[in-house]
Every structure is written in C-alpha cells, then in structure tokens.
Amino acid sequence: MSLNIIVLVKQIIDIDQIRNDPKTGEPLLQNIPLRIENLSKNAIEAAVQLKEKNGGKVVCIIFGTDRSNAAMKEAYAMGADEGYIITGYSGNNPYRTAKVISGKIKALGNNSVIIMGNQSADSYTGILPGLISAMLDVPLLGNAVSIEAAGEVLKIRRVLDESDEIISSGAPCVISVTQEINQPRLPPVLQIMAAGRKPINIEQAESDGTPVPRVISNLAPKSERKREIYEDIDKGVDAASRAIRGEIR
C-alpha cells in the first residue's frame, strides 16, 4: 500500500539563542531567528523513510506565520513532496493549534498516517498528539522509536519506563515520535536548490474565540545560589566536603 503521510512541522524561536536581561530577567527576543523544532525534523525523517520503503507521498503542514517559508523549504529538501503553511499562529494555545491543523487534515482527506514530535522543545506541552487524535477520531500510537507499515496496519516500537512495547493500529492513525527514532538527514545541495523552487501553499487560519491564558509574567528564574567558585582545587574540595558532610549527617 502506498502511504499518504502527513507531517506536522513546528517552527519555534531558536531558544538556544535567547538571553535574559540580567537586570529585569526578561527574555530578549529581538532578532532571534526561527528554526524547525528538532523533533519535527525527526518526524519528517521518519515520514520520508516510510515513503522510501512503502511508496506514497509526504505532505507537511506548518501552522505558522509569514516567516515560515524557510522551514517548509527545509522540509522539502529533506524529501517532503507537498507543503501547506497556515498563517495566523499566535503561539501558546495548543487547543487552537490542534483545531486549525485537524481542520486542514480533514480537508486534505484520504490520509494513512499523521506523524509529529511527541513534545516540543520550547514549552514541552506534549498534548498535541492526543488533541489531534481526538479531533480526527483516529487511534494514537505514541512515543515511537521505530515505525513499520504493513498493508493497512501501522506498527511502532516504544520504550516506556517499565517495558518496551510493540503496538499497532489500522490506518489512519496518529504517530508521535521521540528523538531516538532517527538521525535526521542533512540534504545535499542539489536538493536544497530544488526545494527553493518548489511551490508552497499558503492559507490563512480563521481566528476563533478559544480563551487564551493571561500571562502575568515570563521572566528568568531567580537563582539564589551562593556561587563560591574555587580555582584552587584543595580549597574547593574543603568547602565542598564541609557542605556535603553538613547534609549527610
């Protein structure tokens, strides 16, 4: 069976480049570039590998902004066949994100599997796989470290705290992947160039009335550590040893 694979790609602000204002503790977000969330790359890679093995096509969806073209081109360069950017993302509202994306997935129709990361690196919400599975009313195979397709059946292996499991369900279904599933490919230059010429479909999301939490503050956590730093190892060992003994007793 050839697979119609949908991949949900998330674009985030490059959190590794964020610095906090040392005086106010406020994150300095100006001029920080966007990047594809790492787990989304694992999801794209998993989808492209499935396609290479079983045939079919990979369609990426980004709920983003007018700055999302670069992320889609990267997905194309990795092997995605088609891409939709839905603009109007305002962040931090997984319920609305799931509504917009599942609406698009329904409109596309005829899907075998929807693949996404299990948790994103910026806020770690981790509830999107469940939301999408509920809104599409399809089974969820969560936290995959490998995926196999056989006919109309999708099979994943997952690693839980107490056991390793292989679980399966019929298509269509939602699969969330973990970082361990693969090493996302670095596309060759020719593919990157070809990706630049490939058309991207852009649509506008309708706004809706989902209540959004009111942010009271968003600041760097205050550290009240002593910060006694020793470059003389022996003195440092003395201080550390005293502190440890004080607590062991």
Partner: protein
C-alpha cells in the same frame, strides 16, 4: 473546590493528592496496580482502571464520569498522562494548561507556573483551563487522614493492539527520591570513566545520575537516570555536577536541589552560575580528593 486527579504511578498520584486536598475534595483515577499504594493520601474516592491502559480507553473511561461535577481535572504528565490530557481536551473542548509545577487559587481564579522557552523563563499565567498537566515530582506527598473509598472501572477495548511486551528489569534506581545525587555530564569523556566516579557515589551514599547527552545520546547511563527538563526533576539535599556544562534544560531538572556543587574544567561554564560551591578543575583530580576528604 472539587478535583479529579489522574496519574498512572502511585508516587505522582500521592503527591498530587497531597497538594490538591489543601484546596478541596479530591477524587482520583489510577491504574489497578497502583491503588493500594495511593489509598492513604486524603483521596475521598479512588477509581482503579482494570485492563491494559491505552490513551484512548483511559480517556473514554474518564470522560464517562460526571466531569461537570469537578472544578478541575489534574493529570500527571507521564507519557500516558499527556496523551490522555490531549484526548480529553480535544473531546470535551476544554483548553488544557500544561506542565504546571506550582498552582494557586484565589477569588475563583487559577494561577499556574510552568517553564517556558526550553526552561529559560518561568511563565506565570491566569487561565480558565479545566484540565492541567502537572510535571511529576512537583509536589511532595504526605499521608492524609482517611482511607479512600475504592471502586474498579473496567477499561473497554482500545483501537490500539499490543503485539509484544518486553518488561525491563526492575531497577532499584529512583533518583527522584535520592537525597544525594552525583551527576555526570559530557565532561566524563567515556563510559568507562564512570567507574572512577563510583567511590564518590559510595562515600556520599548517593545515587548516580547524568545529563541528557550522557543518558540519551551516548547511552553511557540508562534513561531513568537522566536529569533535566526532558528527564527527571530532582530535589536532593546535595547535587554534585561533574563535567556538566549547565545547559538550561539541565538546570531546570535540578533547580530544586538544596545545595549544588559543580566541578568543571571550563571556568566560564554556565553551571558555575547555578551552583553554591564550584571547583574549576579536572574532575578526575577533584573526585579522588573529595572522596579522601569525606572519608576522614
């Protein structure tokens, strides 16, 4: 207020029960194997789910309860818990607040705190969410003054089939409960070098832990020993960070430690901003000296 809690492990559920009984009546749902260990934490009614738990059949069982009668559904953020929270949020049209580690109620308002921007900031929000997920380890547990009334709910069939299970060997590790943790980072260099850290683990009666690269990328330690935003959140009395640079995701996992000791060759390593006692030097020189000093 009236709360419905869900956690698939007894430790998280007893912590949640201890926290939420302060603000009202607590009822809870867990898997059958955990019931006995959760009955004495002030939970009024405790439902045990019987059968293999998947996200869909657990969500169905919970949504079959009279959810309108609860002010808030609180779910422990385990892999199963996050999936269940997402499905309930989608099915019931309740927005969900996630990864909460602190919560308060005043004047009918709920105020929550969670990490944002990968742990660089703490976001404090006021919301009308009906469901929240809570980061495991956020609340300590202490016994309450009643025994829960128990009821079993049979789980229905899942649309997911279980084809194969390989139980892992039950490890005795539980770094979340450790009072001293010796944690190693990339600076340890190779797996074999972990041996040379063991005398310090023994001298402190501590538990061994590691950073994300050590546990997940290089697999020098097992995953259950990973400290960090994506791993375990720990709060020992003493946290000894060896060769850990101190990426913010790691700090978010050990911020609850009472005393932090850091050893690193690089004096500009961010871990020195987040420690009480820092030693700039080679950990293979420092560790034996520390062991010797502790044994005196």
């Amino acid at each position: 207020m009236k709360f419905l809690l869900f956690a698939d492990d007894a430790k998280s559920l007893s912590g949640l029960a201890t926290r939420f009984r302060e603000d009202g009546e607590v009822q809870a749902v867990t898997v059958e194997s955990e019931i006995e260990q959760c009955q004495n934490y002030g939970i009024k009614k405790l439902y045990g789910l019987k059968g293999k738990a998947f996200a869909d059949n657990v969500s169905l069982a919970i949504s079959g309860m009279d959810l309108q009668s609860y002010d808030l559904i609180v779910i422990s953020s385990s892999p199963l818990g996050r999936e269940v929270a997402g499905i309930l949020s989608g099915k019931l049209n309740f927005p969900c607040m996630t990864e909460v580690f602190e919560i308060s109620f005043s004047g009918g308002k709920m105020i929550t705190k969670r990490f944002f921007f990968g742990g660089k900031t703490i976001m404090q929000e006021e919301s009308s969410s009906k469901i929240i997920t809570v980061t495991p380890g956020s609340f300590d547990s202490s016994p309450g003054d009643n025994t829960a009334e128990k009821e079993t709910i049979d789980l229905g069939d899942s649309r997911v089939s279980l084809l194969e299970v390989k139980p892992k060997e039950k490890s005795s590790t539980n770094i979340e409960n450790a009072s001293i943790i010796v944690s190693v980072g990339r600076g340890i260099g190779k797996k074999e070098s972990i041996e040379s850290i063991m005398p310090l683990v023994e001298a402190t009666h501590g538990e061994l832990a590691g950073s994300r690269p050590v546990c997940l990328d290089y697999k020098w330690l097992s995953e259950e020993r990973q400290v960090g935003l994506s791993g375990k959140k720990v709060k020992p009395k003493v946290y000894i960070a060896l060769g850990i640079s101190g990426q913010i995701q790691h700090i978010a996992g050990m911020r609850g430690a009472k005393i932090v000791i850091a050893v690193n060759k690089d004096k500009d390593a961010p871990i020195f901003q987040e420690c009480d006692y820092g030693i700039v030097g080679d950990l293979f020189q420092v560790v034996p000296k520390l062991v010797e000093s502790l044994r005196k």
